[in-house]
C-alpha cells in the first residue's frame, strides 16, 4: 500500500507545480473574464487538490479501495450540494397547466 516510497524529486516537482498554480490563479483573478473567473479559479483548485491527493497522499500507489473511499466522499458532497441547489434554483418556477412558466426572478424565492 503506502510501502511504495516516492522519491523526493517528485515531491519537489509537485510542490513547484502547486506553487505555480497558486500564482496562476491569483494572477487570473485580476483579469476580467466575466463568469469564467469562477470556472478558472475552481479548475485550478481542483487540479491542485488532485495533485496533493495523488502524490502527497500516495493515492496513486494505493489499492483501489482507497480510491473508492475518496471518490465516495466527494460524490456524497456533490449529492448534498446539487439536490439542495436544485430546490433553491427552481423555487421561482411556477407550474402552468401547459408546463413550467420559468420567471427569471422572484426575489425572495431565489433567483
Amino acid at each position: 500500500m503506502s510501502q511504495h516510497i516516492v522519491s523526493p524529486k517528485i515531491y519537489f516537482l509537485i510542490f513547484a507545480a502547486l506553487f505555480a498554480l497558486t500564482a496562476l490563479t491569483t494572477g487570473v483573478a485580476f483579469i476580467d473574464l466575466g463568469p469564467y473567473n469562477t470556472v478558472a479559479a475552481l479548475a485550478v483548485a481542483v487540479t491542485k487538490a488532485i495533485l496533493v491527493i495523488l502524490f502527497f497522499m500516495h493515492v496513486r500507489y494505493s489499492p483501489h479501495l482507497t480510491r473508492i473511499v475518496v471518490a465516495a466522499g466527494f460524490f456524497w458532497l456533490a449529492i448534498l450540494i446539487t439536490l439542495t441547489l436544485s430546490d433553491f434554483r427552481t423555487r421561482s418556477w411556477t407550474p402552468r397547466p401547459s408546463g413550467w412558466e420559468i420567471s427569471a426572478f422572484s426575489p425572495q424565492d431565489g433567483r
Binding site: I79, L80, L83, S86, D87, W93
Partner: protein
C-alpha cells in the same frame, strides 16, 4: 417445544466476563465484548427515561384539554422523548450493542480494528448523554427533536445549547463506531470468509456504517451553525439577513432521514439471522438481500426532501424527491418478500426470537407501506405534520427496529451471558408488546387522516376517543417492555447454563464457547462453506 440442552458440568473456564473483576476492568477495557456490555447498560438506562416521558405524554393526552402537565412542559416532554429515543437509544442500540459484540465474532477476528477508539466512542457517548441529561434535569428543551430554526435559534429560551452540544458530541460516537466497523470488515475477515460468505447481519452493519460515516458529520456542522446563530444572534439561517430557514431543514434532514435507515437496516440484519436460524434454512436470495441493504444505504441519501413538501420547497424539487422516495421503498419490499420465502419448506420453530422476527416482518410491511402515503405529494399535503406521521415512524422505529433489537438480544443472550432465559416468559412478553404496540399506534393513523396535528398539548373534542385508545395501548406496551428487563436480569444469575450453540445456528460466533474467551477463538477459524449452510450434507460438527 425446545428441548433443554443436556446439563453441562460448569468447570471454571476463563471467559471475557470472569477474566477480570472490578470497576477498572470495565471502565478501561478495550475488549469489544465488554464495551458492548457498557453500551447495553447505558442505552437501557436512556430507553427507560425516554419511555417514561412517552408514558407521561400518553397519560396527558387522555383529556382533550390535557390531563397532567402544562403545555410548555408537554412541549419539553415530546422534545426530550424524541431526542433521547433517537440519538441515545435507537441509533446506538443495535450497532453499538449487538454490532460491537458480534462483528469480530462473526468474521473470526480477535477484536475490532481500533479497540481503543471503540472505548473512546463509548466515553464520547457518555459525555454527550451527560450534557443532554444536564439539559433534562435543569429544565429541558422545547424545540422538538428537529430543532427547526428560527424558533430554536432566536425564539426558544430553553436549554437548546446544552442539548445541541450533547447531540453534537454523541454524533462522533456513532462516527467512530461506523469507522471501526468498516475497517474491521474490510481488513480483518478470517481466511475463507469472502464477502458473499459473510452473514447478512454484517452486510447490514456495513451499509449502516456507510450511512454513519457519510451522514453524521453534516448533522454535526448543522448543529454547530445553529449554536453559533444562537450565540452571535446572527447566522446563515437568519431570515432578516436574507438567510433561509429551509437551508437548516435541508442540512438537518440530509442526515436525519438516512439516520432512520441506520435504525431499520440493522433490524433487517438481525431478522435475516433469526429467520434463517429458526427455519433451519438458507436465506432465500442471499445476494439480493445483501445488495438491497447497500442500495438502501445509498438511496437513503437522495430522498430527504419528502420531509419538506409543504415547507415551501420548490414544486420541481418536490417532484424529484417524491420519485426518489418511491424508489427507496423497493429494496425494502424485496427484503420482506425474501424473508417470507425463506420460511417455505423450512422447519419453523416459535421460540421468542422468531416471534419477534415474524412480528418485525408484519409491522415493518405496515410501516413501510404507510411511508408511500408520505412519499406521494398529494396525500402528503394532507398528512404532513399530523399523527399519521407519528404513527408511520413509530411503526418503523418501535414496531420494527425495537422488536428486532429485542429479538437480537434474546437470540444472542446465551452467547453474551452464557445463560438461557425462560422462553415461555419471553414469548408472553413478545405477545404483550405486539398487542400493546398495535393498540397504541394504529388509532394514530386514523387520527392523522382526520387531521389532528402532532405536538399538540390539547386538541379538539372529536379526537378524544382515538387518543384514549392509544393511551390504553401505551400502558400495555410499557408493561410489555418491563417484562424482558426482569427475566433477562434474573437469567444472568439463575438461568440454565447455555451450550456454545443452543439454537443449532450456523455462523462463526456459535462455534466458539459461550460466553467466548477474551480473544474470541482458541485458534482463528477457517471458513469453508457459505453462510446459513443448514442443509448441506457434511454439516460441520458443532
Amino acid at each position: 417445544m425446545s428441548t433443554a440442552p443436556a446439563e453441562i458440568s460448569v468447570e471454571p473456564r476463563v471467559h471475557y466476563l470472569n477474566v477480570d473483576y472490578g470497576i477498572k476492568s470495565w471502565l478501561l477495557t478495550t475488549d469489544h465484548k465488554r464495551i458492548a456490555m457498557l453500551y447495553l447498560a447505558s442505552i437501557t438506562f436512556m430507553f427507560v427515561i425516554g419511555g417514561a416521558f412517552a408514558v407521561i405524554m400518553r397519560l396527558h393526552l387522555i383529556e382533550p384539554t390535557g390531563a397532567l402537565v402544562e403545555p410548555e412542559t408537554y412541549n419539553k416532554l415530546f422534545t426530550m422523548h424524541g431526542i433521547i429515543m433517537i440519538f441515545f437509544f435507537l441509533i446506538p442500540s443495535i450497532p453499538a450493542v449487538l454490532g460491537n459484540f458480534l462483528v469480530p465474532l462473526m468474521i473470526g477476528a480477535r477484536d475490532l480494528a481500533f479497540p481503543r477508539i471503540n472505548l473512546l466512542s463509548w466515553y464520547i457517548y457518555v459525555v454527550g448523554a451527560a450534557f443532554t441529561m444536564y439539559a433534562v434535569v435543569s429544565g429541558g428543551v422545547d424545540t422538538g427533536w428537529t430543532f427547526y430554526t428560527p424558533y430554536s435559534s432566536t425564539y426558544a429560551n430553553t436549554h437548546v445549547m446544552a442539548t445541541a452540544l450533547g447531540v453534537f458530541i454523541t454524533g462522533f460516537s456513532s462516527i467512530l463506531t461506523g469507522l471501526n466497523f468498516i475497517v474491521t470488515i474490510h481488513k480483518m475477515r478470517a481466511p475463507g470468509m469472502t464477502w458473499f460468505r459473510m452473514p447478512l447481519f454484517l452486510w447490514a452493519i456495513y451499509a449502516t456504517s456507510m450511512i454513519m460515516i457519510l451522514g453524521t458529520p453534516v448533522l454535526a456542522i448543522t448543529i454547530v451553525l445553529l449554536a453559533l446563530e444562537r450565540l452571535l444572534h446572527v447566522g446563515i439561517f437568519d431570515p432578516n439577513l436574507g438567510g433561509d430557514p429551509l437551508l437548516f431543514q435541508h442540512m438537518f434532514w440530509f442526515y436525519s432521514h438516512p439516520a432512520v435507515y441506520i435504525m431499520i437496516l440493522l433490524g433487517m440484519g438481525v431478522v435475516s439471522e433469526l429467520v434463517t436460524c429458526f427455519s433451519k434454512k438458507r436465506i432465500f436470495g442471499y445476494s439480493f438481500v445483501a445488495f438491497s441493504s447497500v442500495s438502501i444505504a445509498v438511496l437513503s441519501f437522495l430522498v430527504w426532501g419528502h420531509h419538506m413538501f409543504v415547507t415551501g420547497q420548490s414544486i420541481y424539487a418536490g417532484l424529484v424527491f417524491s420519485l426518489l422516495s418511491f424508489l427507496v421503498a423497493i429494496p425494502s419490499a424485496i427484503k420482506v418478500f425474501n424473508w417470507t420465502a425463506t420460511l417455505y419448506k423450512g422447519s419453523v420453530s416459535y421460540q421468542a426470537p422468531m416471534l419477534y422476527a415474524m412480528g418485525f416482518i408484519g409491522l415493518f410491511t405496515m410501516g413501510g407501506l404507510t411511508g408511500l402515503f408520505l412519499a406521494s405529494l398529494a396525500t402528503d399535503v394532507h398528512l404532513n405534520g399530523t399523527y399519521f406521521i407519528v404513527a408511520h415512524f413509530h411503526y418503523i422505529m418501535v414496531g420494527s427496529a425495537v422488536m428486532a433489537y429485542l429479538g437480537g438480544i434474546h437470540f444472542w443472550w446465551p452467547k453474551i451471558t452464557g445463560r438461557l432465559y425462560p422462553d415461555t416468559w419471553a414469548r408472553f412478553a413478545a405477545l404483550v408488546i405486539f398487542i400493546g404496540f398495535n393498540l397504541t399506534f394504529f388509532p394514530q393513523f386514523m387520527l392523522g387522516y382526520l387531521g389532528m396535528p402532532r405536538r399538540y398539548a390539547f386538541y379538539p373534542q372529536e379526537f378524544q376517543v382515538l387518543n384514549v385508545m392509544s393511551s390504553a395501548g401505551a400502558s400495555i406496551l410499557a408493561v410489555g417492555y418491563l417484562i424482558p428487563l426482569v427475566y433477562l436480569f434474573w437469567s444472568m444469575r439463575y438461568g440454565p447454563v447455555a451450550s456454545s450453540n443452543p439454537w443449532g445456528a450456523k455462523g462463526l460466533e456459535w462455534q466458539t464457547s459461550s460466553p467466548p474467551p477474551t480473544d474470541n477463538f482458541e485458534e482463528t477459524p477457517v471458513v469453508t462453506e457459505g453462510a446459513y449452510a443448514y442443509s448441506s450434507e457434511e454439516a460441520p460438527v458443532v
